[in-house]
């Protein structure tokens, strides 16, 4: 990565309060812009083992926001989202989403975020033929990844986002190749023929009081959602816990092993790591699988910290 040396070189004057303040202002504008701006464009997404290109249309009309995403290469995966909820999707794209309101809405809350990340302007740049300002978002500990954001000068929307690991290696690239603010017709955000209405799994009304909790989480990570679903491979119930620090997300799946002898496992898909650890409980062994855009060591530690117990930490 060329980025890190640049960080180092510019580090001196970037740490000046004026630039930090500008970075905060930009982040606030980004948080505001995401839901207020109509635009259309195409972007590419790249990570280890995957490269794809997509078209996106977003139409904001008063309080209503309608967004359509269409994959341009390979299978024509398509999703239409109305006010943050899926309207229609091609098969598989939304098969695992359930209709639920997370306990805490995922929002860019700058004040909280700045406890775990630092924001600094690192200079001018150009993305999709438009002038942008480059912003370094660096973690304050080793339990989360940093990234580099390139925000559109005019709309403050992120036109480019690079996720970087602790050594500055690029984990994933999200980058617009074409971007036009405004000028989106209602017809642009209508789903195609293959976009089938999604019947989201109805949330179980009785509170699924999960008896699982985490003994340790990186600072700033909070439980934002949880659920119990049947296992994809058996009838055993699988507990799902979702944690976030406002940017990074971690899912924990806990499935009873029912006497099966299964080894631990680890795998990495670009920015997403998956760690499976066998944990013994009074009611038999379970397999704890931690999946998230966090460093491997953090995922391992979270997996080993899961405890069965009535005293749910944060519910």
């Amino acid at each position: 990565m060329r980025v890190i040396p640049l960080f180092v070189v510019l580090g001196g004057w970037l740490s000046m309060p004026a630039f930090a303040a500008e970075a905060d202002l930009l982040m606030q504008r980004l948080a505001d812009a995401e839901k207020k701006q109509s635009y259309q464009g195409t972007f590419v997404y790249e990570r280890n083992g995957s490269f794809s290109s997509h078209a996106v249309w977003q139409l904001v009309d008063g309080q209503q926001s309608r967004e359509r995403l269409l994959q341009l290469d390979g299978p024509a995966a398509e999703v239409v989202i109305l006010n943050g909820k899926i309207q229609c999707a091609t098969e598989d794209m939304a098969s695992q989403v359930r209709e639920a309101t997370p306990w805490r809405q995922h929002q860019l809350e700058l004040e909280a975020l700045s406890k775990w990340y630092s924001f600094q302007v690192i200079g001018e740049s150009r993305v999709a033929g438009r002038p942008t300002v480059a912003l370094a978002v660096r973690p304050r500990d080793q339990h989360r990844y940093g990234f580099e954001l390139h925000l559109d000068r005019e709309t403050s929307l992120p036109l480019k986002s690079l996720l970087l690991d602790e050594s500055g290696q690029l984990l994933e690239r999200f980058q617009f190749t074409h971007f036009t603010p405004g000028s989106v017709e209602p017809a642009d955000v209508e789903g195609g023929a293959d976009c089938e209405p999604v019947s989201l799994a109805v949330e179980q009304k009785e509170l699924t009081s999960t008896k699982w909790r985490s003994d340790w989480l990186p600072d700033g990570f909070q439980l934002i959602d949880s659920d119990v679903r049947p296992s994809p491979a058996s009838k055993e119930p699988v507990t799902w816990l979702s944690y976030s620090d406002g940017i990074a997300r971690v899912s924990v799946f806990i499935e009873p092993l029912d006497g099966a002898v299964v080894e631990d496992a680890r795998s990495q898909m670009g920015p997403t790591v998956a760690v499976s650890k066998r944990i013994s409980t009074a009611g038999g062994d379970v397999m704890v699988t931690v999946i998230g855009e966090i460093p491997l060591g953090t995922a391992e530690r979270i997996a080993l910290s899961m405890r069965a117990g009535a005293d749910q930490a944060s519910q």
Binding site: K35, V97, F174, T289
Partner: protein, 199 residues
Amino acid sequence: MSREALHESLSAVMDNEADELELRRVLSAESDSEMRSTWSRYQIARAAMHKELIEPRLDIASAVSAALAEEPEITAVKPQRFAWRNVGRLAVAASVTVAVLAGVRLYNQSEVAGPQIAQQAAQPSIAVPQVSQGPAVLAGYSEGTVAPGAQVTGAEGSPESWHEKRLPAYVRQHAQQAAFGSGSESALPYARAASMEDR
């Protein structure tokens, strides 16, 4: 040619100070037995002065001449012997090469094997192929298809299949919930979720 002049030339040759003319003079007098004995004496004297050990009677030149004179006529056999000697040399060279290559290979193997063994010893738990190592295993993340490298047995209880049956759904649930379940307006988590569907 006077004896004195010849002895002077001989002396010059001894001291490695002879010019070309003197050297020629000494060499042309080579058959002279008196010259040879003089040469011999000079050598002994020189060896004594330099405190070198020398067998004074060892006249290698005449010994070699005598041996050559006694050599029988075996010229017809010589080429064959030469050929065999060359073959022998080649064989030796080849075996040395093989030995060197084998040594290098063994060395490399031991170098590679070392960390592998260390890894196995340190982490016996990694039974499932690491997805990061290539797209072949990534294919295992789509339901219905199993990467050739990842498929060991279809047995219900095998550790590989246990993870293979669950991890794709887990990853999908994680990615899709992040993209669509949280009210996020960003296209990035959507792109992540879409990449999990890719073959």
